[in-house]
Symmetry: C2
Subunit: 369 residues, 2 copies
């Protein structure tokens, strides 16, 4: 391999792919990024075997070839190079790659490219495209509800239920749940599929889609899904197992409903959580007569906030985990929200006013007085 | 105490004083910030008994008084308040302080103000003023050389030798040394004094001076020094003991001298240090015939940089700790530097070209080949 590249292009691409570099994998070669040069393009690939990211940039290819460079060192070196074209050359015999710039050079011991795991491209069982900004928004609205317990893998993923013209997206850690639906612009024939995608891969996808206009192409198979946006691809394994039947936990009725300004409640919750207990930061909501009182207390002190709301049905007395409530209010995306209650021990359902595409459900915490 | 304040003023002042709040002091009251209201001003004080910061803002004082509020909670609460005036009121009987905003309120359990340690104001043995930007620059140019070994306290401080019209400032961790001198605009009569000021206090002073124009007033006594800039004061204890005689370790002659562009050498050193050993990041300098070669190597790879320099005297072969060399090059402040050598095992002396006010000395590391 022998190529001429420039700093900004290569550095940007390295930053994208290095997110898939494995920091704790016992396989040393996975600490590297695979460089492949052919046809005036340089392809960069990294994978931790669960997720892989591939990105390509234009480069002057003097000699095609491949090498696996230590991710941390090559990224930092390229960041610090002078802003002028430089040469990257691999030596098959020694296993070194040398970067030449001005009258200086750096060389690194590399891994053999043919020992690097293949970047598998799923045989497309189903394909569709989604605008990049929709991908970003959908992920943002559900990702906070993903669980972190590796012993219960389905909860560490997000369910995508693809049904012809529509996708329903659900995440839950069993204490809270976030649900979003969106329509596909293309009809997909005979293509019902459930994908449970690891939360971590979706975080990376949101980051990649964040820098892009245009559309994300989704190619899904039984055990993998490939996302392609611009010159970047992300492939991730799917989580096996059955996602719980989330429909049955979403209450269809309510005995009370409160309509509040999202920003007011978000700020009150933030302040209240300051003076709630560190380990179990509960805020209490008491609503009646179109006033909602938000309170929290701990050994440090107490907060009592009054908000103007619109209330329907019975008075409400309930408590939520303050952080969980904050998480929803940050992403709900509407000026006003409805919170529906069926009782102090039943989940509250938060919906944006003016949209039926989103909801989030929160289990209450027990009131102690 | 009963006052009306506004968010921005109070939050800015809290951020300044909370830097002196003790996070690990066993005395619980030191986790608080003392509020004192009198004469249409609110005074805030924090101290960890080594260093204290005091700041005042205008406020509408409805009732004078004092209370010690938990630093972490009051700062975060004020940060999150709506941007409108609010009331702070203390209740002597319960020990609570209540903050009222809009139709909401937060109250906190506070410490008794009369149990808070006094903020001592040194009897001025000597007083002078220095422009705030000089204070910032001087601290920045020497602070990196301060040691961190608490068993050798004088090295954790910076020596200020005040001699009538001039101050010499020195820091060393015994591996490197930084020296700076500056002239005072006022003559101080009969006022020779040596102050060893804790590095941590100087870091805070630089931060405080950073936001200010004008001058810093210095009031020094035997065991304490007080800095006042604008509405903020910082008091710090001095470190006892004798600072080593630094003059005798600064070589007065050299056998070789290299003149290099600061930026070129800084960037080469940064890149080289990437591929130097993690624990002992050495870069080697080889100069002869107006070219200097900077090299480093580790198990990961090697860097070889060539720089155009002007060389006087014998060829040079020497190695320095890469991080120490980088530290100096970041603060030396001139486009070009001279490095003076007296041999591969003797310290190198780095001086800005065009100024005799600064130097830094670096012990070499042993070359292994």
């Amino acid at each position: 391999m022998k190529i001429i590249s420039d700093r900004e292009n290569l550095f940007n691409a390295l930053q994208v792919v290095q997110r898939a570099v494995s920091v704790k994998n016992p396989l040393p070669i996975l600490s590297g990024i695979k460089f492949e040069a052919e046809d005036d393009r340089l392809f960069l690939t990294a994978t931790d075997l669960e997720m892989g990211i591939r990105c390509s940039i234009t480069a002057e290819v003097l000699q095609p070839g491949a090498a696996v460079l230590p991710a941390r060192y090559i990224t930092e070196l390229i960041r610090k190079l002078p802003d002028q074209p430089f040469l990257i050359e691999s030596d098959q015999d020694t296993g070194h790659v040398t970067i030449r710039y001005a009258s200086s050079e750096a060389s690194m011991n590399c891994f053999q490219a043919d020992e690097y795991p293949e970047f598998p491209v799923p045989e497309g069982k189903i394909e569709f495209t989604v605008p990049a900004d929709t991908v970003r928004e959908v992920i943002r609205q559900v990702i906070f509800a993903v669980g972190s317990d590796e012993n219960r893998p389905v909860f560490t993923g997000v369910l995508f239920e693809v049904r012809e013209g529509q996708v329903q997206v659900v995440a839950t850690d069993t204490h809270r749940l976030a649900w979003r639906k969106f329509d596909l612009e293309e009809r997909i024939s005979g293509a019902d599929i459930n994908l449970i995608i690891p939360g971590r891969s979706l975080n990376e996808l949101a980051r990649i889609a964040g820098g892009q206009d245009g559309r994300v192409k989704v190619t899904a198979a039984e055990s993998q899904v490939l996302f392609t946006v611009g010159e970047t691809s992300l492939i991730t394994r799917l989580i096996g197992g059955n996602f719980p039947n989330y429909r049955q936990v979403i209450p269809q009725e309510f005995v009370s409903r409160i309509r509040a300004k999202t920003k007011d409640l978000a700020e009150a919750t933030e302040r209240a959580s300051l003076l709630s207990k560190d380990g179990a930061p509960a805020v209490r909501l008491d609503a009646g007569g179109n006033v909602m009182v938000v309170t929290a207390n701990s050994e440090v002190g107490r907060v009592r906030e009054e908000l103007a709301v619109q209330q329907e049905g019975e008075p409400v007395q309930i408590a939520f985990n303050a952080r969980y409530l904050s998480d929803v209010l940050k992403v709900v995306g509407s000026e006003e929200i409805d919170i529906e209650f069926t009782g102090p021990l039943s989940p509250g359902v938060i919906r944006p006013v003016g949209s039926t595409d989103y909801l989030s459900l929160l289990l209450p915490v027990r009131l102690r007085d």
